[in-house]
């Protein structure tokens, strides 16, 4: 595609000119980003409502607010982050200085996703800008209103010579992936993540993959009953309150001891009514299923007769409106699709165990998730969860909030992805840390050079052990 290659060539020239590397440029773009979301808040809300039926509160909390907060943090910290860091140098190198200097990779590709079409494209963009890169942004075509909104308006607020928005579907993605990028940042499914990494391998392009997985929530029996209401709200909020379950860190399924299951389900049912009223279909607080494909995929999960039989609450469906009621299932078969694939929708399986400690083996025998949530006060249990399971993150006694902490890295492990961002991790993810050693011409150490002999070997051995006294003795002829 000529247009694409021309665009890329223009960005390479821009990057080569050094335009994106100055503090002034980076700060001006970050300010531009803040202005962009502040000026266009209402229009962004409308676009999100159009694409995923997102309520303005969710839209602010998960999209606009996140972008504004992230841009403000980067704006205040970018100069500090850019500064070279001194490295410790042992005396044996004297005189010398060692530094690690972060530098931008160059021209980077950011591929966003459809469930948080504003924050999951713009937050990585903030990261790339603060690190001094030129960027091509590819919003997801499955959120078309947001995609065209970004394409139309980003050039009005950000430097069009250095930051380009390219829209399109699978064919455009394929063409983009054939090009040589200096870094690719991808948010999306594992299936597409593999395709992205394979394409990147052709050019030895480093990648960050923010993928998903089945994020479990564990509810421990030691929880005080009076806290149950809070737990139920936090679970419900992390399932249906986050893009109707279509979020990488949404709770995918619940693990609880059998004796507490029915009380928990009742409480969750009450909470759902509290959140969404008697008829959630009429609620404006619940996001919709993004498109027909995903709706059909979710319907198919329910079509399995054994799964259908396990529906404990909800389960009603309106095919015309692509609506699925917030649904709770009790012990669907573990080998059914709903328990082997990431659900990414408003269906919540509850799996019962005899002993809550079994949840550790349950989780660790499955692919590593992006997040684990555990509601417990048992300190021993917490330690076991941390040491015997692996996940992108672990949150105790709450849900989703880890996403908002700038001091916590946000990223996966294993099948949930690799690389991370948020806070300074964002800057680091788009930077190459260059090692620099500066030396003088004096003094010269003869033992560095051939012809080799046993004295020189001895010298090098003492130098590696930082045995300065030994070195002095050797040089004075007092050591054999």
């Amino acid at each position: 595609m000529e247009g694409l290659e021309g665009t890329l060539a223009e960005l390479r020239d821009t990057f080569k000119s050094g335009r994106t590397r100055s503090v002034a440029w980076r700060k001006s773009q970050l300010r531009g980003m803040i202005e962009f979301v502040q000026d266009n808040e209402e229009r962004i809300f409308q676009a999100l409502d159009q694409d995923v039926g997102k309520h303005p509160v969710e839209a602010y909390r998960d999209e606009v607010g996140v972008v504004a907060k992230s841009a403000k943090l980067s704006l205040s910290c970018v100069e500090k982050w850019m500064a070279p860091k001194k490295g410790d140098l042992p005396l044996v190198f004297f005189p010398a200085s060692a530094q690690v200097m972060p530098e931008p990779f160059g021209v980077v590709l950011i591929m966003g996703s459809w469930n948080f079409p504003i924050s999951l494209t713009l937050d990585p963009l903030i990261a790339a800008i603060s690190a001094g890169n030129a960027v091509v942004l590819k919003p997801s075509e499955l959120s078309p209103t947001c995609s065209s909104f970004l394409a139309e308006n980003i050039p009005k607020y950000l430097d069009p010579k250095s930051i380009k928005v390219i829209e399109g579907g699978i064919d455009v993605c394929e063409q983009l992936l054939q090009q040589k990028w200096d870094k690719i940042f991808f948010t999306g499914s594992q299936r597409v993540g593999r395709i992205v990494m394979t394409a990147a391998a052709q050019h030895l392009t480093p990648v960050t993959l923010e993928l998903g997985g089945k994020c479990p929530a564990i509810m421990d029996s030691s929880s005080n009953p009076t806290n149950m209401k809070v737990i139920a709200k936090r679970i419900a909020g992390a399932k249906w309150g986050s893009c109707s379950g279509q979020a990488c860190i949404a709770i995918d399924y619940l693990l609880v001891e059998e004796r507490f299951a029915s009380d928990l389900i009742d409480l969750l049912a009450k909470t759902i009514k509290q959140f969404y009223g008697e008829n959630p279909r009429e609620s404006t607080s619940l996001c919709k299923i993004v498109n027909k494909n995903n709706f059909k995929r979710l319907l198919d999960l329910l079509k399995d007769p054994l799964v259908e039989a396990s529906v404990a609450y909800g389960g009603s469906v309106d095919e015309e409106k692509m609506y699925i009621e917030p649904t709770i299932l009790l012990n669907p078969p573990l080998d059914s699709q709903i328990m082997t694939e990431e659900i990414f929708g408003p269906l919540l399986p509850v799996i019962t165990l005899d002993d809550i400690y079994e949840s550790i083996d349950f989780i660790s025998s499955r692919p590593k998730p992006l997040a684990i949530y555990a509601f417990t006060r048992d300190e021993k249990f917490k330690k076991q969860i941390l040491s015997r399971t692996s996940s992108g993150s672990v949150t105790f006694n709450d849900t989703l909030l880890q996403f908002l902490c700038d001091s916590l890295p946000f990223g996966g492990v294993g099948q949930s992805g690799f690389g991370r961002y948020h806070g300074k991790y964002s800057f680091d993810t788009f930077s190459h840390e260059k090692a620099i050693l500066q030396r003088g011409f004096f003094p010269e150490l003869e033992p560095r050079y051939p012809p080799w002999n046993s004295f020189k070997l001895h010298f090098i051995k003492l130098a590696y052990a930082f045995n300065y006294i030994g070195l002095i003795l050797l040089l004075l002829g007092l050591k054999k």
Binding site: P56, R61, A68, M101, Q190, M197, N397, Q438, F441, Y449
Partner: protein
């Protein structure tokens, strides 16, 4: 990396590249020459990812540099380096043939100014220096990984940076100069895994410096704490309690909740108080 992609396995790739050394004319020539010898022929006879691959210097300075290098080679390896016990041999006959064909290419064979001797039986090639081979010769297109050192001359030492940047990013880049402005310009403008000013190779022995490439020279790094980090997943852990739950987090979403969420996310304590005062409990 393609194989790792099938399983979404993260990788660290320590690769190679053509590591350039730029030599300015204001340097201590003897020390410079010895350090280049150390960074080329002492590092496994050039078969190292961070060996000096090629040199860039000014037209005027090149003859002096070549003389100094010739002397440096003699000091380290004697008058006949092929007899020296202090120099590695080529690892295999395949690589010997590869290096031989680099040397014998018609574009470069008559550009040898030092060395050129070889012994196929013993898999030995002497330290060999070429002057001004063409940019499209194999010697200047592939990573040499052997004892052949092309010297490319430019009019002005600053031009060397454009030359380096026209090639794939190397694992290491070296600059010898006393000119602070040139040092800063080099450090800012050349992208490489690591760099050393007025020395070669030593930067990889400093454990507080990450050792790894960028672009075609690789991804990821190790040494020192970077080694530990390369093989670790940094798991984020958030501890919360049940108290301090605010119903503003949960649906049904109301305009009051919207105001408060904005105030909280924006972080201004004054705004939070205002919003709380205007917020009715449910």
């Amino acid at each position: 990396m393609t194989a790792a992609a099938k399983h979404l396995t993260p990788v660290v790739l320590e690769l190679g590249g053509k590591c350039p050394a730029v030599i300015d004319s204001d340097v201590d020539l003897q020390v410079t020459a010895r350090r280049i010898v150390a960074g080329k022929w002492q590092a496994n006879n050039g078969q190292a990812c961070i060996s000096v691959d090629y040199i860039i210097t000014t037209k005027d300075f090149a003859p002096k540099l070549i003389d100094a290098l010739r002397k440096g080679i003699e000091e380290c390896f004697g008058t006949d380096p092929m007899e020296s016990k202090d120099i590695s041999r080529i690892v295999s006959s395949n690589h010997f043939s590869r290096l031989q064909s680099l040397m014998d290419e018609y574009k470069v064979y008559n550009k040898i100014v030092v060395g050129g001797q070889r012994n196929q039986k013993e898999l030995k090639i002497a330290p060999t220096i070429f002057l001004d081979v063409p940019g499209d010769s194999q010697l200047m297109q592939e990573e040499i990984f052997g004892p052949l050192l092309p010297i490319i001359t430019v009019e002005n030492v600053k031009d060397s940076i454009d030359l380096i940047n026209s090639k794939p990013k190397p694992l290491a880049a070296y600059l010898f100069t006393n000119n602070d402005k040139l040092k800063n310009y080099f450090v800012q403008s050349v992208s490489s895994g690591g760099m050393a000013i007025n020395d070669t190779v030593l930067h990889v022995t400093v454990s507080s410096l990450p050792f790894g490439g960028v672009g075609e020279s690789g991804m990821g790094s190790y040494h020192g704490k970077f080694s530990f980090d390369a093989f670790s997943h940094k798991k984020a852990v958030l501890y919360r309690s049940f108290s301090g739950d605010s119903s503003v987090r949960y649906p049904p979403y109301t305009p009051e909740k919207q105001k408060l969420i904005k105030a909280v996310t924006n972080g201004g304590i004054f705004n939070i108080i205002l919003a709380l005062m205007g917020w009715s409990r449910d």
